[in-house]
Every structure is written in C-alpha cells, then in structure tokens.
C-alpha cells in the first residue's frame, strides 16, 4: 500500500486538521472554544464540523447550559484512528524526502 493512500483528503484543510488536533487531546470542546482557538468564523467552522460529523469522525452533542444552547464536540474512535493514520503518513512523507 502506498503512503499516499493514508493521506486523508478530509484533513486537507487547516480548520479541519485543527478541530481534530484539539479533540485528540481534549475530551470535549464546545463551539466557542474551537472558534477562539482556530480563529475561524461561525459559518466557516460550522461547515467544517458538519463535514467531519458526516464522516463520523466527530460526535456532536447539543445541550442546554441554563438557557443557553451549547454544542459540544468530541472525537470518535474512527476519527482518532484516521487522524493518527494521517499524521503517520505526513511524518513518513517528510522523512522520505
């Protein structure tokens, strides 16, 4: 199997890669935390979380804190495994050249 196949197209974007990085080391992150850390706009972040949710890399939970709606995200097992594969592929690519 070639290395290239392990490079995940879905992670080929700064924001999506960022979301996964944060969720790898945090049990949960809510929308605002992601927004602040990544410096993304609401719409931009929402479209990227949707993409990751659709491929079941992240889990989205909507809840209420008091009266305020709060959306929190966590990485799924699949998402974590795919992210690890992606990182390993990146490292191999860098080492090779």
């Amino acid at each position: 199997m070639s290395i290239i196949t392990n490079i995940n197209k879905l992670f080929d974007h700064r924001i999506r890669l960022g979301i996964m990085s944060i969720l790898m080391v945090n049990e949960y992150a809510d929308f605002n935390m992601l927004k602040e850390l990544l410096g993304a706009t609401d719409g931009n972040l929402a479209s990227h979380t949707k993409a990751l949710e659709k491929s079941e890399y992240i889990l989205v939970e909507k809840q209420f804190i008091g009266r305020k709606p709060n959306t929190r995200y966590s990485a799924t097992k699949l998402g974590k495994a795919e992210f690890k594969k992606h990182i390993e592929a990146l490292e191999k690519l860098i080492n090779k050249t």
């Binding site: 890669l17 990146l90 690519l93």
Partner: protein, 203 residues
C-alpha cells in the same frame, strides 16, 4: 502540497494540542518569591525553636508550635496569592484567559494531591508525629506538581520529582526534615523559578 506545507501542518497540530490542553502562563517569578517566603518562614521558625523550645527542632510545644504553624500557613497563603497575581498578569500579556478549561483542569489536578496531603499532615500532627510532616509535605507537594505538569509547562514535573525525592529522604531520616524542607520549598523554588523565568518569560 509540498514538504514545507506538511511540516507547517505538523507544527500547527502540535501548537493547537498544547494551546488547547495546557495552561502555560504560570509565572516563574512567583516561584522565586514563594521560595523567598519559605526561607523567611523557616528562619522565623528556626529562631523560635532555638530560643524558646530548648534548641531542638523536633520537640514542639505550646505557643512555639502554634506560631510555627501560623508562619507555615502565612507562607502558603502568601505564595498562593503571589502566584495568582503574577500569573494573572502574565496571562493578560499572553492574551490567555485566566479562568478557562485549561487553568481549571490545571488547578483541579494540582489540588487533589495537595489537599489530600494537607489533611494527612494534619492527622499526623494531631498524633504527635511531628518529625514526619516535613517529609510528607514535600512528597505530596511533589506529587501535586507531577500531576499538574500534564496540564501546564511540562518542566514542572522535574521540580516535582526533586520534591518527592527530598521528601522520601526526609521521611527516612526525620532529623534532617527541617533542612530538606528548606532546600525543597526554599532553595529549589528559587532556582527553579529563576530558570523558568529566564527560559520562558525573558525574551
């Protein structure tokens, strides 16, 4: 994508992982000051015991004992207040929130061993085993630092290891407990705080 882009990706990943899970605005200077408070406190306690408690460091009685306890409490309180103030200042400078998930997690993981150790020390004191408290304080403080290091600057764990080792020595030979306490809480804090200050704060 070129090689450089991949490298940039990796460093961005590392940066985000650190920023989202660690609170890094701890002030090195507060460590130095905490060490100085500890040394002053130890000097006061030493002077009291030498002059009013028959010259031995382990036989406490009456008001000398309670004054030493009060001094100890003052040292802890002053260190905590100084630490919080200087860290708040540094967090503001770094544009980092002082009370967010990462600092909450840091505090929580630091306080569990520390509070347990504090209660245990009080139980031991209550049983009159004064000689053991110096070592126990060092051990539990060291454990608190090691546990906190995962949520802050990783270097903190080395200070933790040193405190644990000093604490174990102090437990084995309580006669040196006082001096090991002085080294651990006084001198090591100053050395370590200065090192952190020059490594992270001065640029």
């Amino acid at each position: 994508m070129s090689n450089e882009d991949y490298l940039k990706d990796i460093s961005e990943i590392k940066n985000l992982m650190n920023k989202s899970s660690r609170f890094i605005s701890l002030s090195g200077l507060s460590g130095v000051l905490a060490g100085i408070y500890a040394l002053i406190g130890a000097a006061i306690a030493y002077w009291l015991v030498i002059n009013y408690s028959g010259g031995t460091l382990y036989i406490f009685h009456g008001w000398v004992f309670w004054t030493c306890m009060a001094v100890l409490l003052m040292v802890a309180l002053l260190s905590a207040v100084t630490g919080i103030m200087l860290t708040t200042r540094k967090a503001k400078k770094n544009n980092e929130k002082i009370w967010d998930n990462s600092s909450k997690r840091l505090l929580f993981n630091f306080l569990i061993p520390l509070v347990v150790g504090g209660i245990y020390c009080m139980i031991i004191l209550n049983q009159g085993r004064y000689g053991q408290t110096g070592g126990l304080m060092l051990i539990f403080y060291g454990l608190a630092l090691v546990s906190a290091s995962k949520y802050s600057i990783g270097d903190i764990k080395y200070l933790g290891y040193i405190q644990i080792i000093l604490g174990l020595i102090a437990s084995y030979s309580p006669g040196y407990g006082f001096w090991l306490w002085v080294i651990g809480f006084g001198i090591m804090h100053i050395v370590y705080g200065a090192w952190m200050h020059f490594k992270y704060d001065v640029k």
